[in-house]
Amino acid sequence: MGGFRLLDLAKFFLPLLPECETSDEKISVDEKIMFTLGAGVIFLLGQLPVYGLVSQASFLLHDPISPFRSILASEKGTLFELGLLPAFTAAFVWQLAAGFKLINVNLNLRGDRELYQTGQKLTSFLLAIVYAFGLIASGYYDDVLSGYNALEDGIPYGKYFLVFLQVVSWSFITTLIIEVFDKGFAFGGGALSLLAIQIATNIIRETLGLDTFNLPNSDVQEPVGALAVILRKIFSLDLTSLPGAIKSAFVRTNLPNLVQLFVSILSVLIVMGLQNFRIELPIRSTKVRGMANVFPIKLLYTGALPIIFAYTVLANVQLLGYYSIHLLQNFAPFLATILGSYTVDPSSNDLVLTSGVLSYLVPPTGLINTILTPIRSIIFSTAVILLSTWFGYNWSFISGSSPKDIAKQFKDQGISMPGKRDVSITHELGRIIPVAAVLGAFMLAVVVLAAEFLGGGGRGAGIVAGVSAALSVLEEFMVDLQQNGGVSQLASAFTGGR
């Protein structure tokens, strides 16, 4: 051997990092359901506002990555500030690096797998620290620290540290919760399950949320839910202001509006439709005579992952750009303007990129915006489509579900395709799988972009990813239930013992 491996760096941290045990015995379906629900509820508690900020800080924060928040399960001003961004980034970096053989790791060896996994966890922790530090250093929290006056007080190190500690600790805990999922105590892969849970609750809150907020820069109080605005007027018999409320429910930009809701519902339906497209290859058991079945290859072969990958990359670019702009502003203002310059959108208090390189990598805010800034729309769509199809194509080869891997599985399980030799099964699958992966990723990207252009406000992407993630989790759940012979006391309690 010899030589230095990047992987060996993880060795130093191996004894220090907390590590969720794998269970010795098989975990029953009921236990898994309990763990999924429990961990999901606990994860959602992270929507608690960060302590040390003024009340309603989420409306006062100038947010540079608002279009990317939904798909990263992150919310500004809360413990979720970074959401799943560190976990996604770490997972993609390591798994792509291993797939492309950029790092020297032999995953056949148990020791290497341990280091590889520790590397992912360590990267996720480090990214959380770096991002939280970057946000604080860029003055993201300066306006909303409670009891802090930028003109009179010095640099509030104590308050900064408190915010930093909360955001980073919650990010660590999120990583550990993901590990609980991944170790098989709950359904699905942790990151995707948590994303689905977060997006599901957000849809309900954005439709029917009754908690009212003072709108920024005005004295009007409005509920969060887009439908709740209208319902509140109807139930209070305040019919004179009903038309105004309906209009406001459609056009408001500071809180979720009905256009976003309709776009979301439409994209859910389209994704559910796309999910059903599949090619069914006939397969036959070589051991049992007359056992014929079909092996489905779905159009969305890589599920939601291409979209999540594209948005993770763009969110990282935006976030790093935000830090660089703040860093460069003092030394090289010219470079900072080339990168991008922000203005504050008065209705939502978000930071909007008006010019510079970075401004071409944000989704347009609505249909009018799409048409008025055609170059930006085209460059953004191209970036999303290229990233997701590139990922879809490569992921189908390196995720362990490549044509070769599946042919190997067939051979191990004694499955063959009628009229095909074992050798040509790989070839046969290779004709279908990469095409399905690329086409599926492309179509999903088009749905997401359509939702963005119609004014989904980043929610379209989040919902498309959330629904496909939820469907993947559901698939695993059904397989698990069937393998257990459908024995689940919880399930039978719901279906009345049938």
């Binding site: 508690l45 302590y51 996994q117």
Partner: protein
């Protein structure tokens, strides 16, 4: 006199090629943990941590209790701040 393989030079080259290919296939390391037969990310599912490492072992329940504990400490801070009406740093 050069050693002549039976069937001529071309056949020897072919044989070498197939032998190389076979050796390459045998020595190839898997591209992912799932390909190595150890669970991990599948085509639609992103999984990060599926192997048991020699770290600081904790029970999954402990992780959840830790999370709840952390949340409660933040809630208590919020309540204290409300009660005293002041920011305590």
């Amino acid at each position: 006199m050069v050693f002549q393989a039976p069937g001529g030079l071309r056949s020897a080259a072919k044989r070498k090629n197939t032998a190389d290919k076979k050796a390459q296939q045998a020595n190839a390391t898997p591209a992912s943990t799932r390909a190595a037969g150890a669970g991990g990310s599948s085509s639609t599912m992103l999984k990060l941590f599926t192997d048991e490492a020699q770290g600081l072992r904790v029970d999954p329940l402990v992780v959840l209790i830790l999370a709840v504990g952390f949340i409660f400490s933040v809630i208590i801070l919020h309540v204290l701040a409300k009660l005293t009406g002041k920011f305590i740093s």
